[in-house]
Assembly symmetry: C2
Homo-oligomer: 359 residues x 2
């Protein structure tokens, strides 16, 4: 457009300089008065405040202040581009809630940054479309489950942005808040094995959105752990179905495929509660009883609000705490510390969806 006038036609908004001029003081004094950040005599302060009111001055411009201070009060959260699905996962809801609570306590807010849709080459330099690095932010939290991080993290770090991972990535030089995924899967398999299950269908989180194979993220870690644990059972057999995204519909579709196979697996081990809910629906749609005909396990321990006293057997993880912990790592890194990664505890929660393998 060319006109050097970013503002509205109605004349510009009052600025601190205007206030200072009107009050007959210098801009620096006005700044002190407005921010309460220095000694100002009562009379001067009042004159300044009066001038501010008269001119309709609404406080310092956030952008200008950010430029000057080097901080803008924004923490980015990099999530899957499938926002609609990401938000429908109660585990993500709790995570965001925890994050927002902690960063909000210091006056910062969360900037939601979906990864680019349909990034062909995840390792391309602009896997993030250049967008992430052109938005104002003090720090970025990478929620690894469902993210192709590509060259994102190095670029953010080079910029001086604080980066914290959730559930990954490992070995990227950033602190990560995570859980023992492998341990959790092993517990589930052991539980099923104890009930006599040998033929287990695995409904996995989307591998396509995982980090690179050599630095596996949540989906690959859980898949590998499940294959290994099931394969180690005497007579153990696992069949893998990989979802396109973490959604109930996907769980239902994949579980349907697995349950229609012959012989039918006696248990389904889903890698999220959301996928597990889909498994339950698939079983119900086929008239199969749970756990009579087939056992189902999830992972996350969120409240799915299942009807009639059904409780999912799952691995509980502290999602809200995860968010709060990630926020604390962010804040301490912004304070100049170099926080270490954190591993949070999980627990097997046995519900009503697992039982003895049918004969």
């Amino acid at each position: 457009m060319g006109t050097d006038r970013p503002r509205r036609a109605t004349g510009r908004r009052a600025t601190l300089a205007d206030v200072a001029r009107a009050a007959g003081v210098s801009a620096s004094t006005a700044s002190l008065a407005v921010n309460g950040s220095g000694p100002v005599s009562a009379g001067t302060r009042e004159r300044i405040q009066a001038a501010a009111r008269t001119l309709g001055y609404l406080g310092p411009d956030p952008v200008a202040r950010s430029l000057r201070r080097g901080r803008c009060g924004v923490v980015a959260v990099v999530v899957s581009d499938r926002l609609g699905y990401a938000f429908r996962d109660p585990m993500m809801a709790a995570l965001l809630d925890g994050l927002a609570e902690e960063v909000g306590a210091v006056g910062s807010s969360l900037l939601l940054v979906p990864t680019q849709r349909s990034a062909e080459d995840p390792d391309a330099g602009d896997a993030d479309g250049g967008r992430l690095t052109s938005l104002p932010m003090d720090a970025a939290v990478i929620v690894d489950c469902g993210i192709r991080s590509g060259a994102l993290i190095p670029r953010l770090l080079a910029r001086g942005t604080v980066v914290v991972g959730v559930d990954g990535p490992q070995d990227a030089g950033v602190p990560v808040v995570g859980i023992d995924d492998e341990g959790g899967v092993q517990e589930l398999v052991a539980h099923l094995a104890g009930l006599g299950h040998r033929d287990i269908g695995v409904v996995a989180l989307p591998l396509a959105l995982d980090t690179a194979p050599d630095a596996p993220g949540v989906p690959r870690r859980r898949v590998a752990a499940a294959s290994a644990a099931i394969g180690a059972l005497p007579g153990g057999r696992s069949r893998l179905a990989v979802s396109e995204w973490n959604a109930v519909e996907e769980g239902e579709r994949l579980a349907g495929d697995l349950l229609d196979a012959t012989p039918r697996p006696t248990a389904l081990l889903a890698h999220s509660d959301v996928l597990a809910l889909g498994c339950l629906r698939a079983a119900a749609a086929r008239g199969l009883s749970v756990p009579g005909d087939v056992s189902v396990t999830g992972f996350d321990g969120v409240d799915l609000h299942l009807l009639q006293g059904t409780a999912l057997t799952t691995i509980e993880q502290p999602s809200g705490l995860k968010g709060r912990t990630a926020a604390r790592l962010v804040l301490s890194a912004l304070d100049g510390a170099e926080p270490d990664s954190v591993l949070l505890p999980t627990a097997l929660r046995i519900g009503t969806t697992t039982g003895p393998a049918p004969a």
Copy 2:
């Protein structure tokens, strides 16, 4: 671990001026080259790019650019402080998805701003804790359902921020994307009345978080419409239970109270699908069959992933479209237009949770 101190270790990050100096050109030319926003000779461009690479220049600083341009590429979404619950509402998920999609198309992102927790006086000047007006943003989308807006909107407008409402507030001088709440409730009541229901329990969204009574938001509008419509039935009787927040647990608690009363209402009209799910759970917990003993209706038309072929009777509203529409209003207002409010269509969807009133 390791040596990741890309920040202050070697001094400041490379700036455009550094690149220009290294390439032996002026800052303005460097800017043109870096942004591709003007005529630069091939040779000069290459020298500049080489210098940028050498110095590790990563592109313009977003904050400085924002200050200069007067735009920062951030659209705030003001939501209930109960983020954990807000996000667990599939209707909010769809709304955010739609919003993110449209604003993302022009390179902007969403800034999540929860309203202040426990604001005593919603009309106080700093009902937003001063936070909203101290964060960088080009526009704000106020999701009215569950928000005390207080003095927020006037303050944002005074700042020159574009403001768009979703579901309200009416008459605040900002364009609003909404639906016909009253019409929807009336359709539901008519449907129930046609099935013989006269004694109807109403499970309402949190009024406490509503806008001022004289400019009612979604909760009050739906409550008023329900009272009026039920009261207009011959022999019609309504009982009201108001939730503290929009969550399944709340619906369950309130529906429990209503169902335990004598005489028991023959139908529950919940003002959101999430609350309705709670109603279904409460009925199940009491061994009441739906719709045999009690009918249940919701509002929103989201997919609750109910088990076993249960489908909620509800009012469908186009949540994703709502988000996309709000985004379009934002973008056109940022372009200098003065967009009008939009009313989106709804439709009654009859499921399996409503049936004839028991004798």
